[in-house]
């Protein structure tokens, strides 16, 4: 058993390209490397010289899975740089838009990327042969999330309606009301999803995480709030770079992010749920309680249940926005060119996404900084694997490898994002 390695050259069911390498020395884990070989694309470099109005469309292209997250962080950072206040109705529409992306992304990850691990299938296609009803349900949920994005943004991937100051065009009340019946079905199906995922088998594995998420005075966080953690962090987006540090490691084209003085931290559904349980609507809180899910949840494998609770939230929130919607007086406010610096953090489905821009007098970008959720979770994934692989010493190679892959998928990593991230190798 000495000197065994676990290697996965191409990690599957994650977004983007990466690999895993774990080296075991007896029953001890000697080394863990989550390698990101996804080629760098240099967004922060070529954003320089572009106009602020182009940032939502360009940064969306960092990730085809969560383009709205990029658009939301971009517009909020720009609006701060430019001193713009948006209309309350626009703010509500942005919440609805983000709910669409959360529904699509969480349904995709729960049923199509993560569930096959729990049920022992290599993919959702094989799973569909035995569980067609589950897969059909997943597809319909996904489609409803996508429909919200299409109504507000023209298409689900790289939508075209998001502008600094608002939207290029806003939907009518009737266009939104048409989504209600589907969303009522989606809400019920999300409640069923919480129950179903709660009944899966979870490895016994808990870690003492620093959870980092946005926190808003009244709402479950999407676009606004202070950045908080269970270890006393409570900051404004403008203070982010004072508290977090990006490190460049040799084995990865993605930068590793750490909390200064403390190390790795966790962002995403577990962090949001644990820090914001009291901000969930009653229907989501009750679903979590019925599934015996209480904060703090420290088992990352149970993130699939937390994602389902967030599905409930997203459907309920979308229905609320639609019920209360009155179109804004104008789709967007006028945004004159001016110099400034602005930062924003929003909650992508996978966790917080930080943008910072500096603009010149002509509204052109001088510098850009983007810290995606997966590069923030990357160090934490390696830490999880270091602890978890030690439990797998007696396991056959194939099964140990699969379990490690599942542990990575707990984070719904988005490698395309992190590279601006994955390959699995376990060496024993």
């Amino acid at each position: 058993m000495t000197g065994r390695t676990i290697r996965v050259d191409t990690l599957a069911r994650v977004e983007g390209e990466g690999s895993l390498y774990i080296k075991m020395a007896g029953d001890r884990v000697a080394d863990v490397k989550l390698k990101i070989y996804e080629p760098p694309r240099f967004f922060e470099a070529f954003l320089r010289g572009r106009h602020f109005s182009e940032a939502p469309d360009i940064t969306a292209r960092i990730c085809g899975i969560c383009p709205i997250a990029y658009q939301m962080s971009a517009v909020h950072a720009m609006e701060r740089a430019l001193g713009i206040r948006i209309e309350p109705a626009v703010r509500q529409l942005r919440r609805l838009f983000y709910c669409g992306e959360w529904i699509e992304s969480h349904a995709l990850h729960i049923y199509m990327l993560h569930a096959p691990d729990f049920l022992g299938y290599e993919d959702v296609i094989a799973m569909a042969a035995d569980h067609r009803d589950l897969v059909e349900k997943a597809l319909r949920l996904k489609k409803i999330g996508n429909r919200i994005m299409c109504v507000l943004g023209g298409r689900e991937i790289h939508p075209i309606s998001v502008a600094v100051g608002g939207f290029y065009k806003v939907p009518t009340k009737f266009q939104l009301q048409e989504l209600s019946d589907d969303l009522e079905w989606a809400l019920q199906t999300s409640l069923d999803t919480v129950q179903w995922t709660a009944g899966l088998d979870f490895p016994k594995f808990e870690q003492d995480y620093e959870f980092v998420a946005l926190r808003h005075p009244e709402e479950y966080p999407l676009n606004e709030g202070r950045l908080v953690s269970n270890r006393g962090l409570d900051i404004d987006a403008a203070e982010y770079e004072d508290h977090f540090l990006e490190q460049h490691v040799k084995h990865s084209n993605a930068l590793h992010s750490v909390v200064r003085g403390r190390g790795s931290y966790l962002v995403g559904p577990l962090a949001r749920f644990n820090l914001n349980f009291d901000r969930l609507p009653a229907v989501a809180q009750e679903a979590a309680e019925k599934a015996r899910l209480k904060p703090p949840v420290k088992n990352p494998f149970r993130s699939i249940v937390v994602r389902a609770v967030e599905l409930v939230f997203a459907c309920a929130e979308a229905l609320r926005v639609i019920r209360e919607y009155e179109p804004p007086a104008a789709p967007k406010v006028e945004v004159p060119n001016r110099a400034g610096v602005g930062q924003a953090i929003t909650e992508a489905p996978r966790g917080i996404l930080y943008h910072r821009y500096a603009l010149d007098d002509h509204g052109l970008i001088l510098t850009a900084k983007i810290v995606p959720p997966t590069s923030q979770n990357q160090r934490r994934i390696e830490d999880d694997l270091r602890e978890y692989a030690a439990q797998l010493v007696a396991w056959p190679q194939d099964e140990a490898t699969w379990k490690c892959e599942q542990a990575i998928r707990n984070y719904d990593p988005c490698i395309s994002c992190a590279t601006h991230f994955l390959k699995l190798t376990i060496e024993r």
Binding site: P40, R41, E44, R61, E122, D123, I125, K142
Partner: protein, 266 residues
């Protein structure tokens, strides 16, 4: 945790999905075809699609769908291997077809780019240019869009399997706009709209949302970019704005490249 079901050896056409430098959005389009997905995977054998499956079967493949552009030495070699392993190679999206947004490096100093993004530049290996797949290997069909239209993808796969020509129009976005009954925003509102030189396929989304087309489907056949530049100047767009308009998601397509370089000289 052993696999309950393995496919392979089914005699169905084998499809592989390969990724190069990209955002994953175009391959996600296949999973986003919610109404067609189960029918498609019933008709073919998904032999290699890492974003969706940990089952990764070796070639040869009947169809390879290739997403992303070539930006590293390793990828330049890998695309040769992909070409050898497949009968039909289809590029999906603006990265694979025109180099993508990351081709903006092609006008800049990539070493300076590396220093801007990464603290330890010597860890990064990349090519000076981001290039489309067709600059490296013969391509059987290039599907446009940033992202592609999922219905065009389903049509293309269906046509390829049936051995017929895919029904994918090469006319401009203007035709789609007229069909939708949109008022022309380029003429009536002086919007900087690339619709007249951009290939259809999106359903004229931007003009339908009260903004000018930004060319994400790339140049149409015989795009008259010079005439459009005249119009853009006429409505008061500066040369810098026009350079940026052509230099976006399909910047390295030869038509948009020529147009942006001409604007730059003005």
């Amino acid at each position: 945790m052993s696999s309950k079901r393995k496919s392979g050896g089914t005699g169905k056409p084998r499809i592989a999905v390969f990724k190069f430098a990209s955002c994953d959005g175009c391959q996600l389009s296949l999973l986003d075809a919610e109404d067609e997905l189960l029918a498609v995977v019933g008709a073919v054998d998904i032999a290699y699609f890492p974003e969706a499956s940990r089952k990764m079967l070796k070639g040869p493949y009947d169809i390879a769908l290739v997403e992303g552009s070539i930006t590293t030495h390793t990828d330049a070699q890998r695309i040769q291997q992909v070409r050898r392993e497949c009968k039909t190679l289809i590029t999906i999206g603006a990265c694979a077809t025109a180099g993508g947004i990351q081709a903006l490096r092609n006008w800049k100093d990539v070493d300076e780019f590396i220093r801007v993004v990464y603290a330890t530049p010597q860890f990064i290996s990349t090519l000076k240019l981001s290039t489309p797949i067709a600059e490296h290997v013969p391509v059987d069909f290039e599907l446009r869009g940033c992202p592609i239209n999922k219905l065009q993808l389903v049509e293309l796969i269906t046509a390829t399997l049936a051995g017929r020509k895919p029904n994918i129009p090469t006319y401009s976005v203007c035709i789609e706009c007229k069909r939708k009954g949109n008022l022309c925003i380029a003429v009536t509102r002086d919007s900087a709209c690339l619709g007249p030189v951009t290939q259809a396929g999106c359903g004229a989304l931007c003009p339908s949302f009260d903004r000018g087309c930004y060319g994400c489907f790339g140049p149409m056949e015989s795009a008259n970019t010079a005439a459009l530049v005249n119009h853009l100047q006429y409505i008061g767009q500066t040369s810098d704005q026009n350079v940026r308009a052509f230099r976006a998601f399909n910047a390295w397509s030869w038509q948009f490249r020529k147009a942006s370089e001409e604007c730059e000289r003005k």
